[in-house]
């Protein structure tokens, strides 16, 4: 045992000795990557979706021919400035902790008269098929741009959701032994060339949460936080949780609570 440990000490020392040129190469890669990301930042296709979402928000739609302008995202009917940054939160009228997407769907059902199935059928876009939800969430998110994430989770139901989110964050299973924490529980790591961030700290969670919703160039679409987290689970080779599942809202509550205080920069654009 001790011998094995010593062996790995030697291994580490050697790796450090060989670390010099790798670092030089790495910093050049990092510079060029920064250049790539900077070039994308000016001209974010999410802006196109934000404009579409703004139109959808105000348009009279559904069996009740109503707009969403009376939708209460937590700060009162129609008050969108800063609402995204304060979700998920507990809503008295439903007796549930809801995130931006579950609340939006709730409004489309109650105010506009759509059925839940109608509203969520296209909860994410595919090439050639647009998603109203993506557009609306991009618009609602942008109304919190520049504001601080603020999910203290002080209501007992919110506190419980945050705790349950923490449980899921560390829960390992599947054929790769994955959990959220194995990639997102340490400082300064990256997967391939993408920085991962330690989501258990304010800085790490803040860095991750502040840019969503985000246009993903690899997907050619804006991803909402539900999409982001459900896809993490797909990548873990688990089955997909249902859209708007409580376990996703719990994870969001945990992450937003941890990120609280970070200034939003949304919509973002990333790989």
């Amino acid at each position: 045992m001790v011998q094995r440990m010593l062996k790995s000490v030697v291994g580490i020392a050697l790796a450090c000795a060989f670390g010099g040129p790798a670092i030089a190469q790495d910093s050049k890669v990092a510079d060029e990557l920064a250049k790539y990301r900077e070039a994308l930042a000016d001209g974010n296709p999410a802006d196109l979706l934000e404009a579409k979402g703004e139109g959808l928000w105000a348009e009279k739609r559904g069996p009740k021919k109503a707009s969403l302008e009376q939708c209460d995202m937590g700060l009162g009917p129609g008050k969108l400035e800063g609402a995204y940054a304060q979700l998920p939160r507990y809503f008295k009228d439903t007796g549930k902790v809801m995130d931006v997407e579950s609340r939006l769907v709730h409004c489309m059902v109650t105010l506009q008269g759509f059925t839940q199935a109608e509203v969520t059928r296209q909860w994410f876009s595919k090439p050639g098929t647009e998603s109203d939800i993506e557009a609306l969430v991009t618009f609602i998110g942008a109304k919190s741009n520049g504001m601080k994430i603020n999910v203290p989770a002080t209501h007992p139901e919110e506190a419980k959701m945050a705790k349950m989110g923490e449980y899921i964050f560390y829960r390992r299973s599947g054929p790769q032994d994955f959990s959220c924490s194995i990639c997102h529980g340490q400082e300064g790591k990256r997967i391939r060339l993408q920085e991962l961030g330690n989501l258990t700290t304010k800085d790490g969670a803040g860095f991750a949460m502040k840019t969503w919703p985000s246009y993903r160039v690899s997907q050619g679409a804006v991803w909402t936080m539900q999409r982001r987290l459900i896809d993490c689970m797909r990548q873990a080779r688990w089955p997909e949780p249902n859209y708007l599942a409580d376990s996703i809202i719990a994870l969001e509550t945990y992450l937003q609570k941890t990120a609280t205080g970070t200034v939003m920069e949304t919509p973002g654009i990333k790989r």
Partner: protein, 103 residues
């Protein structure tokens, strides 16, 4: 007919810089869908930018221009409040025109 474009035009020292974001799928014709069928090509072929009545750029695109195309260029002239108009046409015959005021 697609969604509106986002056009920004700004004049500085007599030169107007134009940045355009177009909402378009730009399907290559080489991708397969989940069922394994080839998704037909669908992309913008031509785009023209005008300052007033004067053409300031005309472009031809192939399907390897990225989804939601982005374009930036500069022309001499242009004054605050004047219009820049951008039009595109795709291989299915769809087209669209939007405009913005130079800021």
């Amino acid at each position: 007919m697609g969604n509106p474009m986002k056009i920004r035009a700004a004049n500085k020292d007599g030169v107007t810089e134009v940045k355009v974001l177009v909402s378009h799928e730009m399907e290559t014709g080489q991708r397969k869908d989940a069922a394994g069928a080839v998704v037909p090509a669908w992309f913008i072929t031509e785009l023209v930018a005008k300052h007033g009545d004067k053409t300031v750029l005309s472009a031809e695109f192939g399907p390897s221009v990225s989804k939601n195309p982005y374009l930036a260029f500069k022309f001499k002239g242009g004054a605050k409040g004047e219009k820049v108009t951008v039009s595109w046409k795709d291989n299915k015959g769809d087209s669209r025109t939007d405009e913005a005021a130079i800021g």
